[in-house]
């Protein structure tokens, strides 16, 4: 791996790094275990109701991260580049969700003055929101590849990366100019009212399992499983895996490489769009910067799970979501430091498993 890096590291430096890495990892790990035991067994800071709440929050946000992370992993697997504009693709999905629900909110049904389309036909509205959101994002992903990445396919590895960052900034600013920089609140249909949910009593305190959260979680699991089946069982999936392994050989075997890459971007865009619509439904607040942080987090999740590996991205997403939400409480530190906890864990994981949780050792070409 070191041979391909443009920065030369002296032999001595490499040895020192090799020696230091596990030591550093072990120190961080020991610290985590120490704090964990303090909070759990000595101080008894939080009761079971708090832990349940934290895990629920983590699973919901984790499932959104997983959906976005899949996009990073798919594209990386096939082109070996990080599509940094992926978060913005998700943002456009969230905006579509906002516009669809806003439109349906303003369509009146029948003579009832308060009954709107989104409340009269909630399932239809939600399905339309998802179809439109996924299509807009899929189209964005497709065009992104055509315009920003395809002309650079033969260029050195860093060039498409810069192009991706440029595309990301372009999309953010375009959204700011087109949709104004104001925060938008997504108007959910009543059956998915934000904040409503099943209440269970734990330790005398009511814990809410929000409908929007359960919906988000189940739908993203469904999408992830169906994607996995597509990749593993269908002809297109086989083509995709072949292109990921070796583009040249795949084209010799009669696979249309360009078409496969375009389709990959379509799929990853559609998944990001679904994540965007879920984000809109669950978190409501949509603006031009919505996609940036989830995009970065999902990228982290993809690396955590082993970039290029589909189940790895799913696992990484859920793992990151839970760590982010449970981590600060478990370590007994300030909640503002949740990102510190998440990235600390990333360091620990990469120290002991440099290719991620489920990552295999990559072929030389992919590194």
């Amino acid at each position: 791996m070191n041979e391909t890096l443009p920065i030369s590291i002296t032999r001595k430096g490499v040895n020192l790094l090799k020696f230091l890495r596990p030591v550093l990892g072990a120190i961080i790990l020991l610290f985590i275990v120490y704090r964990l035991s303090q909070v759990l067994f000595v101080q008894h800071t939080y009761g079971p109701e708090t832990w349940t709440r934290l895990i629920i929050a983590g699973l919901i946000i984790g499932s959104v991260y997983a959906l976005i992370a899949i996009g990073y992993t798919l594209v990386y697997g096939i082109l070996f580049m990080i599509n940094f504009a992926h978060g913005e693709v998700m943002m456009l999905g969230a905006y579509t969700c906002f516009f669809v629900f806003e439109a349906f909110k303003n369509i009146k049904v029948g003579t009832d003055p308060v009954l709107t389309f989104s409340n009269a036909y909630p399932v239809v509205s939600i399905i339309i929101a998802f179809i439109l959101g996924m299509s807009v994002s899929a189209l964005t992903g497709y065009l992104l590849e055509k315009i920003a990445y395809r002309p650079l396919r033969k260029a050195p590895r860093l060039v498409p990366l810069i192009s991706a960052i440029g595309a990301s900034i372009f999309l953010q600013n375009a959204a700011q100019l087109l949709f104004s920089p104001q925060l938008r609140d997504v108007a959910n249909p009543e059956i998915l009212a934000r904040g409503a949910g099943w209440k269970i009593l734990i330790n005398g305190s009511s814990v809410t399992i929000p409908y929007t959260g359960v919906f988000t979680f189940l739908l993203s699991l469904l999408l992830l499983v169906s994607l996995y089946i597509v990749v593993q069982k269908t002809k297109f999936g086989r083509a995709m895996r072949a292109v990921a392994l070796d583009k040249k050989t795949a084209s010799l075997m009669g696979i249309d490489v360009d078409r496969t890459i375009s389709l990959t971007f379509l799929i990853s865009g559609a998944l990001a769009g679904a994540a965007g619509v879920m984000w809109g439904i669950h978190n409501s607040m949509v603006y031009y910067y919505t996609g940036f942080i989830p995009g970065i987090k999902a990228f982290t999740a993809a690396v955590l799970g082993g970039i290029g590996n589909l189940p790895g991205a799913m696992l990484g997403g859920l793992f990151l979501g839970i760590i982010e939400s449970v981590g600060p409480a478990a370590l007994g530190i300030d909640f503002q430091l949740k990102d510190v906890v998440a990235f600390l864990l990333l360091i620990v994981v990469l120290t002991f498993r440099p290719s991620g949780l489920l990552g295999e050792v990559l072929a030389e070409e992919k590194v």
Binding site: T45, Y46, G47, E49, T50, R53, L54, I56, A57, G58, I61, S180, P181, Q182, L183, D185, R194, G195, G197, S205, S206, V207, T208, P210, W279, N283, S284, M285, Y287, Y289, I293, E324, S325, V326, P328, A329, D334, F335, Q336, K338, D339
Partner: protein, 427 residues
């Protein structure tokens, strides 16, 4: 060829940059000698310094004079968040200020104008806007900035340029302790907002266990600390203090931790964007019966529309709502007519916005002189001291007298609560 082009481009750019630097330099104290040679072609923006008809005061003034040729307008700046989650504050306050400019009319044939620039409410934005204003010699005063963070970044820049400030809403207590000569404000400070809030929680609402949340900003954190200190002093217990990250949409983890301490009330120091999320998610984290107590940053129509039924019963402390007076009625009517909204629904500061611009114009009128060449001369140093010594100025929100450090308002806050989807004075 390429090298020549590059050199030419370099020369052009360096000339341009020097020209840019020369403009603000004209406002530097005692630079009158150089600036008499200011190019005659400059008609859109006035040049500073002693021209032929310049009055004596300009040569003795610490910052020199801003000169306006007939037909030019006297610019008053305002740096405000006009976009993003807290935009309602900037929009509302600048609309109040706009009305003040309309009411002020002309001075010896010279018009006033309020120029609003978006600083996003951030320190970086505040400094950028301040540099922009300072580089245009037509700016003599700034009604702002709106947020404390932006204000504290902008202060040194205005201090250097001799531009006086009168903020309608920057309430961080330490702003007036920094020794700035140009900074003044007509808002009540967080030092007067925090302790009364703690007192209200303890004595009126009988809260004994308080959770304190803040958004980590200068304003929110300062307020949270002031409330904590006073609440503990009164004999209450602060069960948990947590900071949240600005701009996020999921605060359920931190609220779960708050919930585990069973507080009777949550005090939140911060702004509407995060405050509304906190209120909504308190419903999901076992805090549905806990009182939410906000500050003047969580007041406004945006809070109501974002929280809906969840916001019912939320408290806030705001700048004193002005007592009914003919001036207020006239302002409210003009505001409704021009902007299509009731005054005070977007933010509690629209009257302050009016007052601060009106106060600045009064001060400008008191020091400005028309030279015998027909130009208007505004001595910057004299203007700075005129605002600082503003006495018994009658605004809509009250009567202002600025003290030695620039605090012009000493009224206690008003407490408000959400009832049936509207902000009403709390009992």
């Amino acid at each position: 060829m390429k090298a020549t082009k590059f050199v030419v481009a370099l020369i052009i750019m360096s000339v341009l940059f020097t020209a840019c630097n020369a403009a603000p330099a004209a406002a530097v104290p005692n630079s009158t000698a150089e600036t008499t040679a200011a190019p005659a072609s400059e008609t859109t923006s006035p040049s500073s310094g002693a021209a032929a008809g310049s009055p004596d005061v300009c040569s003795t003034d610490a910052y020199g004079c801003a000169v306006f040729k007939p037909g030019e307008v006297v610019k008053i700046g305002m740096g405000a968040p006009m976009t993003g989650g807290d935009a309602s504050y900037g929009i509302d306050i600048s609309q109040g200020g706009t009305l003040a400019v309309q009411d002020a009319g002309e001075f010896e044939g010279f018009k006033f104008v309020l120029v609003v620039e978006d600083d996003g409410g951030t320190a970086e934005g505040g400094a950028a806007v301040a540099n922009k204003f300072a580089s245009d010699p037509a700016f003599v005063a700034v009604a702002g900035h709106i947020y404390s963070g932006a204000t504290s970044a902008a202060m040194p820049i205005y201090e250097k340029a001799g531009i006086v400030m009168l903020s309608p809403s920057a309430s961080l207590p330490t702003l007036t302790t920094l020794g700035s000569a140009v900074f003044n404000r007509i808002v009540f400070t967080d030092a007067r907002q925090g302790p009364p809030a703690a007192d209200y929680l303890f004595n009126k609402l009988n809260v004994r266990k308080l959770a304190v949340l803040h958004d980590g900003s200068d304003y929110g954190k300062g307020l949270a600390e002031a409330v904590s200190a006073k609440f503990v002093e009164l004999g209450g217990e602060v069960v948990i203090t947590e900071a949240i990250t600005k701009g996020e949409t999921d605060y359920t983890p931190v609220l779960s931790a708050v919930s585990s301490k069973n507080p009777e009330a949550v005090y939140f120091g911060g702004y509407t964007a995060e405050g509304a999320v906190v209120v909504n998610q308190m419903q999901q984290t076992g805090l549905e019966n806990t009182i939410f107590f906000g500050d003047d940053g969580t007041y406004g129509a945006d809070f109501l529309s974002r929280t809906g039924a969840n916001g019912e019963g939320a408290f806030a402390t705001i700048a004193p709502i002005p007592a009914d007076s003919p001036e207020k009625a006239a302002f409210d009517a003009a505001y409704l007519e021009q902007f299509g909204k009731e005054a005070g629904t977007l933010s509690p500061y629209t009257w302050n916005g009016y007052d601060s611009v009106a106060g600045l114009i009064v001060a400008i009128k008191s020091v400005a002189v028309v030279g015998n060449d027909g130009n208007l001369y505004v001595p910057r140093g004299a203007l700075v001291s005129a605002v600082r010594s503003l006495t018994d100025f009658h605004g809509i929100s009250g009567t202002y007298t600025c003290d030695a450090v620039g605090e012009c308002n000493t009224l206690p806050p008003t407490f408000v609560v959400v009832k049936d989807g509207a902000w009403v004075p709390a009992p």
